[in-house]
Structures are given as C-alpha cells and as structure tokens.
Point group: C2
Chain length 323, copies 2
C-alpha cells in the first residue's frame, strides 16, 4: 500500500515526508500509527554512524496506534532470542532495516504488539518503547536497583536518561544527576531528583561525593575521559551500567578500586520482551508519565530530527501523525 511517511533515502540527506510504498508479508499485520518518537539511533543512521545501514528506510523505533479497535504500542526489539542475558545474533531494532514507525501505517509481526498503557495518551505512549525499555534493563536488570539506594544518572536530558530518572524515583531511590546545563538539573529536581551537578564544573565529582558520599547504582551513556571517576564514586557492591559511549574509550581504571569494592561494570543495550512486559506493568502500577519535550506533526519530521540534533531537549521528541 501507499502511505505518507518520513523516509531516509541516503546518508546525510534530509528525511523526506512523502508517499512511500510499504509491503506486508503474510506473517505481518497492519497497524495504523497515530504517533512515533525519535531516538539518537535515528540520527546516527541518518549520519551514517550505525552498523550495516540499508537504505532507503522509514526511520522510527517507537510507535503507538490502532490495530482494529485496540490501542497498541510496539516492542522495538526484533528477534531478541532465548537468553535473558544478551540478544541473539538475529537481533534487530525496529526502524532499519525493517521500515520504522515514522509512517501512517506499519506492517509488523503481531508478536511485537502490546496494549497501550491505559494511563497514557497516544503521544505519551509513543515516547515509551525504545528509551523506556533501554532504561528499564539498564536500571533494573543490569543495575539491580533497589528502593532506598542512591543512584547517579549522568548526562540527564536524553530519552533513556529521563526514563531512568522517572523509574528510579518511582522505585523509591535517591536520585542524583549530572548535566552540562543548570536548566536540565533544575528540571531533573522538579521530576524528583534530590540534587545534581554540572559536569563542566571542575569540582563536579568532589561535589557529588559530598552530596551523596557514594552511589549504589550509576547509569552512564558517555564513557570517555571521566568514566573512571564514576568508579571512584561507586559504593562497595555498586553497579555501574553503561548503555552508550558517546565520549569514546575509557581509560585509567584502577583495578584495586574495582576488586576491593566488588564493583560491577555492566554493558546494556535494549531489552527483551520479558523486560518490556515488566516495564509496562511497572509504569501502569506506578502511573509513570513520560517526559515529553516537544511534539511535531509527522510532516515536519526533518525539523524534528534537526531539533533533536541540537541537544537542547529534556525528554522525548514525539511526532503526532494525526495533525
């Protein structure tokens, strides 16, 4: 069928909003999408910074919409596989190579379809899947987060980090954040963080140590030159989880700090269908509301990509397909 969608035809080109032909295989069903949201992954694909890029492709890993009379959201983990510990060799993220959610319709495996949480509208629900799932696995499965523990979330503002913040607060943790701007720290505090520091401040790590004395869980997506300082802030038995590495390689790790304090460093990416189910149950139970930064109409998808690239947002950027 022919649908209106955003499509990326080649690396470093703008996302065109235009008519696109999509095909439905026999195993797939058609979902009418009312909203989608953006993730850093979409930018990396546009910029050619992702592995095994196949174009043209409709971007988008997050979708909410209708299947018949049912309000649904989509699981973005395709072929996760049998293990809880890691994804299978056939694992894919929805939205390249499989056509994604920035489209009026998607043809999709019914196993990836879940009921929309009742307490969320379509915009909120569309912001949840990839970032929420990544945050859930990093925090709960890999980070072994417990109520009452102290947690540090670095680089607050991005989609995943904002969900880690929301989940940690709802889980009864004492939350601290870092950011490069005071506005984002203030926003984090308004969402339930206890405090935060500006990582551009030369005394940021001393300040964190004074504020919290130590952290049981640290969630990071930067890596890079300051990562080793995070390890010094970890408590005995602490979990340091990384789901990204935007600042590059990690150096200067002191082995004695690691082994004497029995610290765990854990890589995490995406999550399993089981974790998606757990996350949906949790946000339904705790009535967690995603943080939406800004909503664009689907027709302005390229503007939405450019806004995301600016890095000024806090929370999710959503595309409304109904206006």
């Amino acid at each position: 069928m022919i649908v209106k969608a955003g499509i990326l035809n080649a690396i470093n080109q703008k996302i065109s909003y235009t008519d696109v032909r999509i095909e439905r295989s026999e195993e797939e069903v058609l979902v009418r999408l009312t909203a989608s949201s953006l993730n850093r992954r979409d930018l990396w694909i546009q910029e050619g910074l992702y592995a095994r890029i196949q174009l043209p492709c409709i971007p988008g890993s997050d979708g909410c919409g209708w299947l018949g009379g049912q309000e649904v959201i989509l699981l973005p983990s395709i072929n996760w596989g049998e293990s809880g510990s890691f994804q299978s060799k056939n694992f894919q993220v929805l939205g390249m190579p499989h056509h994604g959610t920035c489209s009026e319709y998607i043809a999709i495996d019914p196993q990836l379809i879940y009921s929309k949480p009742n307490h969320l509208d379509h915009i909120e629900a569309a912001s949840l899947p990839l970032s929420g799932l990544t945050a859930w696995r990093a925090l709960m499965t890999q980070g072994h987060a417990q109520p009452g523990q102290k947690i540090l979330i670095t680089g607050i503002g991005g989609g995943v980090a904002s969900f880690v913040l929301l989940f940690a607060v709802a889980h009864g943790m004492e939350v601290y954040v870092t950011s490069g701007t005071q506005d984002k720290i203030d926003k984090a505090v308004s969402l339930g963080s206890k405090n935060g520091v500006n990582y551009k401040d030369s005394r940021a790590f001393e300040q964190l140590s004074e504020m919290a004395s130590g952290f049981d869980v640290i969630i990071d997506s930067a890596g890079g030159p300051d990562f080793h300082k995070l390890l010094r802030l970890a408590n005995y038995g602490g979990h340091v989880v990384m789901y990204g590495g935007t600042l590059g390689n990690i150096d200067h790790i002191n082995p004695q700090n690691l082994f004497w304090k029995q610290i765990t460093i854990k890589g995490s990416t995406m999550g399993s269908p089981k974790e998606f189910r757990e996350m949906l149950d949790f946000i339904g139970d705790k009535k967690v509301k995603p943080v939406i930064d800004r909503v664009f109409p689907l027709s302005e998808i390229d503007e939405a990509f450019n806004y995301m690239r600016s890095g000024n947002h806090f929370g999710k950027i959503v595309l409304d397909h109904t206006r």
Copy 2:
C-alpha cells in the same frame, strides 16, 4: 603462651622463625596447626605494599590442624558481614592484623573453624582456604560459571588461578590459559585445560581467538595494558572477573564492545562464609585435589617466602609444621 612461629617484625625484613608469645581472648579457642600455606598477600605485607600494616605479626591466612580430636581448617575471612555482594567495613583477612597461621598454635574465633575435607591430607587442606575461596567467588559467584562454557584464565600458576583451573575443570568447563612460560601451559593442560598461549607472544590474543572463538568467562588478576584485549575475546553476555591488578591501570576500553555484547566486568575479593561452605561441599563432592608446588618445614619460612617471590611455582607453597 609461647609458641614457635614465623614473625615479621618490620617492613622488608626477613621472616624470623622464633619463640613468639600469643594471647587467647575469652571468645577464642586454641588450634594446633599442622600446616599453613603462603599467599601473595603475605609478600605484599612483607614488602610494605599492603594497606594499614600493623607489625610485628605472624603471617599466614591458611591453616590446617587439630582442635581437640578434630581435624580442622580455618576460614580466612573475618567479619565478612551480612551481604553476599561485598564485605563489611570491619572485614579483615586472617594473618595481619590478627596473628596468622605460620605458627604452632593459633588463638581463633571458633566461627572460623571448619572440618577438614576428608579426601585431603593436612598439607593439601592447608593450601586451600584463601586461594580456594577467592577462586570460588571469582568463578562461581561473580563469573556465573556454567558447565559447558568456555573460560580463559590469565597468568596460570598462582594459587588462585590454579584453583580456578581445578574448579572449572571439575565444573565441566572448557578451559584455556595464558602464561609467560610453556612449562606452565603444559602443566595446565596436564590438569585438564584444553589449551593455552604464551602472553609474551605478539599473536597471543589472535591465537586465543582462533582456539576458542570467544569466552563466556574470563578470570584475570593482572589488569594493565592488555586487559582491554580480553574484553574483545568475551562472548555476548560474557563475565570478565578481576581479583587483582598486578599490571596496573586499565586503558582503551571500548564502550560499544561492552554495551552491545552486554559484557559484565566484575571485581572480586576473598569470599563469604557461605561461599566457603559451598566451596568445601564442591571439592568434597568432586574430590578436587589442590596443586602443591613445594613443601617447606615451618622453620624455613623465610626460604619459602623467597621461593614464592621468584614466581616460578605452579600452585601452592605449603609449610609443614610437623617436621
């Protein structure tokens, strides 16, 4: 009471074998020690390379002997505490500041006393406690080792590494080792390892990759410049456990390798009473026999220290208190 013992009176001095007065508190019992064994920790204390050294002190964390008519061994973890994940702030290792096992008698908390495994003689049993417990926790608790998995043990030959090897073989794992000498690789193979490489060989890591294609568990006590290459050898969901850092800081860790492969890096030190009990049950069940490199009479303790410092041993260096 006055006993014959080895004693360290000051940093960088020889260990004297002489008469020493030991005191028994009301909570302690006297164990007549028939054998003890050495650990790197003892050398580090002698060389002043350990935290909060208090001297004079009788060294030794490992002991076997008699309590009345019972053959016993000693748990070297004092005040481990309540958590399975890490030791308490009051944690101590037996053998500084508490007088250790290189002595005819020790005054010790009865909670640290366990029955000697029946299938081991006193020399074998004395080789077990600290190294065996450290190996057990690193492999089983922190490494999540499973039968059938592939494991890499770096720097084979030391006490802990030799126990990791024995436990992994008995657990049904496919074991690979690294060493700086072919003799130690050959010895490891004779003990059940499948293969090994010389880490001085410039192609060592490529060879490991060709031999095993990847490892589910990697156990390391070196850290240092090559540690990041170990991470590249880890399978998806792999566990890399470090219980030491003799080669210093770790650099060049690639975050993407960590998070995409969902790798865990875990620090580990010593172990809990629960783990000691599990380890004793396992070696009794599997009839694991420690690897003894050489036995010295207690009176030659200083020679034993110097032999250990040479680094040429494979397995444990034991002191026989009965000759």
